[in-house]
Symmetry: C2
Subunit: 195 residues, 2 copies
């Protein structure tokens, strides 16, 4: 199976900061960076207004970059109660934006992402950032952490997609070609990556 050209949007969900990224699968394990950014909504604002702003931002990204698939971090019940709930509300509107565009959504736990990207499910932020910088051939590490996490989610999906495809379709992958999302990457000055 050949996933070359597959365009993946990675989302590190959050209401105060939401990391968004777009990458494109290249030959073999190559992954090309397309865009990365962070959407912020002021913590003092009304929840409804914050969700509306986040929704508009992610829809704009989806309409601009036309991802074939979305990879988003699975939220767990841990840490600050209010933050977890806000993040879960954010996931609702983020997943909805994908569903409205019929873009499939895959969820990954932080340890699945760490394992896929670095080979170690317990890699720390520094190791993950170094791996992402190297994999995507960036001239400098992506910042802030939410941006790096969004890129890691997208890379994770690129590398796990062939396995997910085989599991779902029972194919061996030999000699099969599934060309998807070969649209050229639109670049936005504010979102383009140093590569």
């Amino acid at each position: 199976m050949n996933l070359e050209g597959l365009r993946v949007m990675g989302i590190d969900p959050g209401l105060t900061r939401c990391g968004l990224s777009v990458v494109q699968a290249g030959r073999g394990r190559a992954v090309l960076p397309v865009a990365v950014g962070v959407v912020r909504t002021p913590s003092g604002d009304d929840l409804a207004l914050r969700l509306l702003r986040l929704s508009r931002a992610v829809r704009e990204w989806m309409d601009e970059y036309s991802p074939d698939v979305v990879a988003i971090e699975r939220v767990f019940e841990r840490g600050n109660v209010s933050t977890v709930m806000h993040t879960a509300h954010a996931v609702g509107v983020l997943v909805l934006a994908a569903a409205e565009r019929e873009v499939p959504v895959h969820m990954y736990t932080p340890s699945e992402v760490k394992k896929a990207v670095s080979g170690n499910g317990r890699a720390d932020k520094k190791q993950m950032t170094a791996m992402i910088t190297r994999i995507l051939g960036l001239s400098e590490p992506p910042k802030p952490a939410d941006a790096a996490d969004a890129l890691a989610l997208a890379v994770c999906h690129c590398w796990r997609a062939p396995m997910i495809f085989r599991q779902r379709h029972g194919a061996t992958g030999a000699g099969r070609s599934t060309a998807v999302g070969t649209t050229p990457a639109p670049h936005n000055q504010n979102r383009s990556l140093p590569s």
Copy 2:
């Protein structure tokens, strides 16, 4: 302050079952039932598809009944982890639908609703259903539980709205009149209440 005519949508959020209701404030503490129903999405379906269906249903309700305000239950981290997360995702798309229509959203905890409606923050389901049936002058108790809860949330807001208004505007309420949402209630056969 006079809230007569205020139209309130009550939402008992959930992904498997989401209770929706619309009531209209009458004179004094009178509350008139307008509509009640439950939106269901199959638990075996994809999360994205379920959120899309819920979003479409609540948007349809909002466009049909034009509520002035939405009262929704605040979700807590307790009970089954997966259910809580699904409910929190649902809250995200429900609140977003209100925000997109510039309809203000108020959140109430279950005990706030119980206290406002029955005078007892620890009232059980049976007591609450009996109170709601009586307050709204229904000929039979609303079913299922999610529908009754959605009505209770709406009634709770009707009765707390004057206090919230005074707190925000620092008014005593004496001699003030704030007419809002006096649109007549459209009735839908499938959603109309026995009254």
